[in-house]
Symmetry: C2
Subunit: 177 residues, 2 copies
DNA sequence: CTTGCAACTATGATTATCATAGTGTCTGTT
DNA sequence: AACAGACACTATGATAATCATAGTTGCAAG
């Protein structure tokens, strides 16, 4: 199997058609988000995205086939893998950031705190939603940013991870008191 | 108004989950691309995206329901509508631009011309793929950009429009010599 | 009064996704 | 040695989305 099969818009010059052919669906985007946040394990991707296990497996397979993700064995016996973004995958960061900005501005109740605070790596100032540095007075490149999850969002994520393992234990052994 | 039905990720603080709930699919993104390019008519959206008519109809309905698109009658008798992005829709531009940059850099054969050349509105210089102005020496905000389709891409789009009307005439009246 | 166009809607087949359950391989505990 | 548990999946059958194709409506021009 060669990479980037027929699911990309190969028959057009439009780069957006190409992009959406590879990451034009909810689960792929959410998985990339998680990988950018530093998650590497299958179950964490599943828990934090809310996708079913086949969705995660299928998407990871496709992302790997398209060269966005690499699978590394961190243990044979038992065979365990971690998933990491390739440079091609990491360069989706601007897409994720743009979706973040739009989502914060247009999809969330007014006045709610952003889920992630962004800082200018070189000067430490907190950036506004558009990625502007109030100290340096201009747009900051994504490579010069550092993100920090808000306490509320970190808590939500911990909760999700806990719920996931709970649910697993329950469905594996339903007759526990 | 806090509309946006149940298809957005309403139960999370993550703005990306919210965004992908509204535009986390290929057809929505491609339709937004077309609207940003200035197309307004149903058939043009269909021809240029390659979606089926129900997909266009369904997506426009959803985008309208979510407040990204407005439908204006430009003629009663016969009843005709045009579709336009609302400010909420227009603000997806950075997402589209990020997908463009990524698609040009990672999904197309090396050395191929970008489908669209971007210029700095205030100084006229052509921007690089990352949206940097070589004259002004920094990142340019999307509101200060102007795009111009390459001749090759314009031709591809003309071709697509022509093929579409051809196909329509043929399937409506198949026994023409 | 027929042809044609624009903007859809209807239909039935094919695919994708979902909820749920199960498998295989190891580790750590009893 | 036996067994529970973690992890990374795969299997299955039901439900939902998407596809190709065709049809409808409303009007205008010839």
């Amino acid at each position: 199997m060669g990479n980037s099969k027929d699911h990309d818009g190969d028959d057009t010059l439009c780069p957006i058609a190409h992009s959406t052919g590879l990451v034009g669906d909810r689960w792929s985007i959410l998985i990339v988000r998680e990988l950018l946040l530093g998650q590497t394990r299958f179950q964490d991707l599943q828990a934090q995205t809310g996708a079913t296990s086949q969705m995660v497996a299928a998407r990871l397979k496709r992302l790997e086939g398209d060269g966005l993700v690499e699978r590394h064995a961190y243990s044979r016996r038992p065979p365990r893998h971690e998933y990491r973004l390739t440079p091609k995958g990491v360069h989706l960061m601007p897409v994720i950031l743009a979706l973040r900005t739009w989502g914060e501005r247009w999809c969330k109740p007014e006045g709610e705190q952003p889920a992630t605070r962004m800082f200018h790596r070189t000067c430490g100032s907190e950036l506004d939603l558009d990625g502007r540095c109030p100290a340096c007075g201009g747009l900051v490149a994504w490579t010069d940013m550092r993100g920090q999850p808000s306490e509320a969002w970190a808590e939500e994520r911990r909760q999700r991870a806990a719920d996931f393992t709970d649910h697993r234990r329950v469905s594996a052994n339903p007759n526990t008191e």
